[in-house]
């Protein structure tokens, strides 16, 4: 098998669902912008050279429907013979898209593929516009349909993750993100045009565009006291709150993946190689433990030792599950989500896998870390994990 090189990996800011900067920006616009951005920032790359565009999306319907991978790439101006696909593995969709793109390169079937992810949770809500769980199996297999919040409560209860520990974890996520933002460390973030509808003097509206260059969900001024005062939302007497859960967010991210030949031909400096990717299933009602299963599996598959991993991006769907996984794996918290996680930066479902890839690679480069792991839990009861190796 050939190596798959990630030469460019970028993301939009993550902006709060319904209240944030992208609340009036169509998801297609976010994705089109990102596709163009990665092409522009890859030296010598022309759109016609891209074989396929695979886009992760958790709720590929309505504005995100009709195969957003094809729709967006055409809008972005890729030639008609460049294809596009939508990939769905819920919260791992973006990473799945990158992994499948890499596989295409590794197998020799394609030379250049773009993998990415998109979710506007404003436009298409979690669960989709028209959820229709199966009437019989919601009764027979209720756990399969359990809300994510309940699974987070289950993890907290079954593995004794205290409210205090969750709030502390959430607080740290906010503080790390705030610091990274203030020190301008989000090098993978591309200022992105956003839409707003501005009321005019005569009462009509005007569509305007403005640039958004920061993640607007970060709560710099949050306090532990503030977090500990929030009410649990998913269970009476529970421990999972709006403050120690991920934010619902809009965003897009994309990566350009190439074979070694193309890297050489174009003369680009690749960031990292995608070494391996794996998924694993678990009980749906405690889907949050996914990374604790997927990461060891990945280590075993690749013959890597956890000790050799210099940085982790483990998606913070909820503090309860993220903290459980970190503790269960025995990883040093200092190298996990160093610029904050989804509690502060948001979890735009299908985009998350692609977004965390951009963040991890940027951080590996900033810190000169050889091996990095990205992982997340996945609704329905799964974990996904990928191993990246920094290029010299």
């Amino acid at each position: 098998m050939r190596d798959a090189y990630i030469v460019t990996s970028l993301r939009t800011p993550g902006c709060k669902r319904k209240k944030g900067a992208f609340k009036d920006t169509r998801p297609e616009d976010l994705l089109v912008f990102m596709l163009n951005a990665v092409v522009e920032q890859t030296k010598g790359l022309e759109k016609k050279d891209v074989a396929d565009i695979m886009i992760g999306c958790s709720f590929p319907e309505a504005e995100q429907g009709l195969n957003i991978g094809r729709i967006a790439s055409q809008i972005a101006g890729f030639p008609v013979d460049v294809t596009g696909a939508t990939v769905n593995r819920f919260c791992a969709s973006g990473l799945e898209a990158i992994a499948q793109s890499a596989l295409r390169v590794m197998s020799g079937w394609s030379d250049i593929v773009i993998g990415g992810g998109l979710e506007s949770m404003t436009y298409v809500p979690m669960g989709g516009n028209l959820p229709r769980p199966h009437p019989e199996y919601t009764q027979k297999m209720a756990d399969l349909y359990a809300s994510m919040g309940i699974t987070a409560e289950n993890v907290a209860n079954r593995y004794a993750v205290s409210r205090e520990a969750q709030d502390e974890f959430a607080y740290q996520s906010q503080m790390k993100a705030a610091e990274a933002k203030n020190k301008n460390l989000f090098k993978e973030l591309v200022p992105t045009p956003a839409t707003r509808y501005v009321p005019q003097k005569d009462g009509t509206y005007n569509k305007e565009t403005f640039m958004q260059d920061y993640d607007d969900g970060i709560r710099e001024d949050t306090t532990l006291e503030g977090l500990s005062g929030l009410n649990p939302v998913f269970a009476a007497g529970g421990s999972v709150t709006a403050g120690n859960s991920s934010q619902m967010t809009d965003g897009a991210a994309a990566s350009v993946i190439m074979s070694e030949d193309k890297v050489k031909a174009l003369g680009v400096q690749p960031i990292a190689k995608l070494k391996s990717y794996t998924t694993v299933g678990c009980q749906p009602d405690e889907m949050g433990i996914g990374p604790a299963l997927a990461i060891p599996k990945l280590m075993k598959m690749t013959g890597t030792d956890l000790k050799d991993i210099g940085l982790f991006e483990i998606n913070e769907a909820f503090a309860s599950q993220a903290l459980y996984c970190v503790n269960q794996l025995g990883i040093d918290q200092q190298i996990v989500n160093i610029h904050g996680g989804a509690i502060a930066l948001g979890h735009p479902l299908g985009c998350t896998g692609a977004k965390l890839c951009a963040t991890l690679l940027s951080n590996m480069r900033q810190r000169g870390v050889k091996y990095g792991v990205e992982s997340m839990c996945v609704g329905g009861g799964m974990g996904a994990a990928a191993l990246f190796e920094l290029c010299d």
Partner: protein, 801 residues
């Protein structure tokens, strides 16, 4: 040009000002709420508009936060704009009515009127909500035009719920202004108007406060305890459960003292002036900040034990120590408990032999005599005084009605024997052979008029139809113990329920059928309504649970099923009858009561409407067509051309209303929740309800009424059940609901969604009615449902098992 109140200014944003603004906004009037700029503004805030409006903003926020809600719908607040008396005063020039509700200080009020006079728009009305300051003093120095447009409009707290509106004419107020405000107050604001004279504290507070203070004085003399007083002057005497002292705690002892003192100072001539002097212990309490509810301690206080049990403690007037309030046992109260009617209860109390009864007699005798001596000083008629006490103090009977109830002649004989000074007018009245203040003549209520020394007809607005009066006029065409069909004239008939809480039973179900047959033969349309008393009163509190429970325990399921079927089809047949049916609900309209309304062609509702399908609380589901008709009502606003829509968006609110036992907080809220449709009407005056409903019937017939075609109904089928099961499972995991709640919620979804059928299927209405019945009977066989019913019957509260 006909006078209109398009916009109003309320000056003063305290509890009364906020309450008045909320009421006006609720009736659709644009309202400007003003208050002073905070006197303690920091330098940097001097030009900050938000800081300058801080007081009025806090007043509006407090009105919005008050429970029970002062606003019928929080969105009414959008009709209220706020401002301060410095920057926004000019805006009152746009207002048709300016009502002053500022602090009770003559100088401040005079200064305010002086400022209002040059700004107010010509012909606008200015009124004061003062509870005690004489109008003539307030308007002193103002122009003739001002005085001609100036009057007293005295609301009671809480403004939304208290029916009384005292109108006090000034010396020069124009008659057409008074007439307009009385009609506006009654018809638009829904209040009961009492004509008061410009005397200290007007009618309600003069009589009410005299009664309260006198009771406190007599209590000490007679050695009766506070809980005994409250038991005696509670429901046994047709008074609110809060009795005298609990009411005083709610009012606030300082407020009570203020009114009493103010009255005392202004009534030098009063023969019983001393009955406005509070006992010393009350003054001591006020000095110790034991002011009642507002300071958490008054005559009563509630303490929590370490295990969260509430204990109610009561103060000892001698020692001012609190001790646990023990249940009161008095022979006269036991006798009253056994008595059926209110007059019988009252007689049991005042003519009892025990110490409590002797005390009650003295207090009552004193207050009756005091009231009689106030005519014509404070009001011209006994009707005004009785109305003031009923509407302003929630008494079931005013003083003169109560006097009739205990027997005028009998009581006066005893009063004379015991040395009470009998008012001259009463002696004269008795001497002329008149032994009652009220009597019914040919169905017309007459009252004794002291001035003419004869009986006069009690005059009502022509909008008011009195069912009691019609019944006395032998207008009942069908009747059973539980329901009557009354001829409202013009071919319109009223089906009146008259069971306890107007709960539905076998006889009422039968009446639905017989009334339909009768009106079909002899009438043009039907009103379903009643005029049961009480606050808020009950149009119908639902099916009779005790009957249902007994039948279920006896295993008479077939009988129950038949009864339910008869209710369902009784209502559906009315719906499709060739004449219009208008339901006129008010107050509690729950379960079956709600279903009666949902099945009607139109609802004319009182603004105070507490409507809901609360069957889940007793482990049941709506089975009188409630599942079907709430869903139909929600879908009915759609034009037929809208064929493709997400039915789930309609299903979910209907499901939630039933599964959460949603009870509306007003008619406006009922509209927001789909219980009332766009064509249903809201009426603010409860006394107008039957009359307005009749008008609707006549109008519908005039417009060429045709019954609605019977169409199939689109249902969400199994898709709904999947959605609900998934969400219910989450709520169960989160311990927000019990296993049985979850079970019931799924049953409700099953019925509303039409059972095991593909989504978007069109089914006959009968399908849902059949499911309602089947599930209802199944649930009656469940132990947990029976436990819920039992708990409700014994405690009055729902059981969450």
């Amino acid at each position: 040009m006909p006078r209109k109140i398009r916009s109003a200014a309320v000056i003063g944003s305290g509890i009364m000002g906020g309450g008045i603004a909320a009421l006006l906004a609720g009736t659709g009037i644009k309202t400007l709420l003003l208050d002073i700029v905070p006197p303690d503004l920091q330098k940097e805030d001097k030009n900050n508009p938000a800081a300058r409006n801080r007081i009025v903003k806090a007043g509006l926020d407090a009105a919005l936060a008050t429970q029970p809600a002062l606003f019928m719908s929080p969105s009414d607040a959008q009709r209220i704009s706020i401002g301060n008396l410095t920057d926004d005063f000019e805006k009152i020039a746009d207002c048709d009515w300016i009502i002053e509700v500022v602090v009770e200080n003559l100088k401040i009020k005079q200064d305010l009127y002086k400022r209002i006079a040059p700004v107010r728009k010509k012909n606008s009305i200015v009124s004061s909500n003062t509870s005690g300051i004489p109008l003539k003093a307030m308007s002193k120095g103002r122009s003739k035009d001002f005085k001609q447009h100036f009057l007293g409009t005295h609301f009671f707290n809480p403004v939304r719920y208290m029916k009384l509106l005292e109108i006090i004419p000034g010396e020069e107020t124009l008659p057409d202004i008074l007439e307009f405000m009385a009609d506006f107050g009654e018809r638009i604001l829904g209040k009961g108007i009492v004509w008061a004279k410009d005397t200290p504290n007007f009618v309600g507070n003069r009589i009410g406060v005299q009664g309260m203070v006198k009771v406190m004085q007599l209590m000490l003399e007679e050695g009766v305890s506070i809980p005994e007083v409250d038991a005696l002057f509670g429901p046994a005497m047709g008074r609110p459960r809060t009795g005298m002292f609990k009411t005083a705690d709610i009012v606030g002892l300082d407020t009570l003292a203020h009114v009493a003192k103010n009255t005392y100072e202004l009534i030098a001539e009063d023969e019983d002036r001393e009955s406005f002097v509070l006992p010393e212990f009350v003054n001591t309490m006020i000095n110790k900040n034991l002011l009642g509810k507002k300071s958490q301690s008054g005559f009563y206080k509630t303490e929590l034990t370490p295990d969260w049990q509430k204990i109610r403690k009561v103060i000892d007037p001698q020692t001012l120590e609190y001790a646990e309030a023990r249940p009161v046992e008095l022979p006269c109260l036991a006798a009253a408990q056994k008595a059926k009617t209110l007059p019988e209860k009252m007689r049991a109390v005042v003519y009892g032999k025990d110490q409590g009864a002797r005390f009650a007699w003295q207090a009552v005798a004193n207050n009756l005599i005091y009231a009689a001596n106030r005519i014509p000083e404070i009001a011209d008629t006994i009707v005004d005084i009785d109305n003031a006490m009923r509407w302003g103090f929630n008494l079931e009977m005013g003083p003169f009605e109560a006097w009739d109830a205990i027997g005028l002649k009998k009581s006066v004989t005893r009063m004379e024997k015991e040395g009470f000074a009998i008012p001259r007018i009463i002696k004269k009245m008795l001497k002329a052979g008149h032994t009652a203040f009220y009597k019914m003549e040919n169905g017309i209520v007459c009252f004794y008029d002291f001035e003419s020394e004869s009986y006069k007809e009690k005059v009502f607005s022509p909008n008011i139809i009195s069912l009691a009066s019609l019944k006395a006029q032998e207008k009942v065409v069908q009747s059973s113990e539980s329901a009557s069909l009354i001829d409202l004239d013009d071919g319109v008939f009223c089906l009146e329920f008259h069971t306890k809480m107007n709960s539905l039973n076998q006889q009422i179900v039968e009446a639905l059928h017989t009334a339909r047959e009768f009106v079909d033969r002899q009438g043009i349309g039907l009103v379903i309504g009643n005029q049961a008393g009480g606050m808020p009163g009950a149009f119908s509190a639902g099916a009779n649970l005790a009957d249902m429970s007994a039948a279920a325990k006896a295993g008479r399921y077939a009988d129950i099923e038949l009864l339910i079927k008869n209710l369902q089809y009784g209502l559906q047949e009315l719906r499709y009858a060739p004449f219009p049916v208008v339901a006129a609900p008010f107050g509690l309209t729950l379960g079956g009561g709600c279903e009666v309304c949902l099945a009607a062609d139109k609802i004319v509702a009182h603004a105070e409407l507490y409507m809901g399908q609360v069957e889940i609380g007793v482990g049941l589901i709506p089975a009188g067509g409630g599942c079907l008709n709430l869903m139909k009502k929600c879908l009915s606003a759609l034009p037929a051309v809208v064929t493709d829509f997400d039915l789930a968006k309609f299903f979910l609110p209907v499901f939630m209303a039933i599964a959460m036992a949603k009870v509306t907080i007003s008619a406006a809220d009922a509209r927001a929740n789909g219980f009332l449709g766009p064509c249903d009407r809201i009426v603010f005056n409860r006394d107008y309800l039957i009359g307005e409903a009749k008008k609707e019937v006549v109008k519908m017939v005039d417009e060429g009424y045709a019954p609605p075609p019977k169409r199939k109904i689109r249902i969400l089928g199994q898709a709904a059940q999947g959605m609900v099961a998934a969400e219910v499972s989450n709520m169960l995991s989160g311990k927000f609901i019990s296993e049985y709640d979850a079970f019931l919620a799924k049953k409700i979804a099953y019925v509303i969604s039409g059972g095991d059928v593909r989504d978007n299927t069109k089914v006959d209405e009968d399908v849902i009615l059949t499911l309602e019945r089947e599930v209802f009977i199944d649930l009656l066989k469940e132990e947990k449902t029976l436990a819920r019913i039992e708990h409700m019957l014994t405690t009055g509260k729902p059981l969450r098992n």
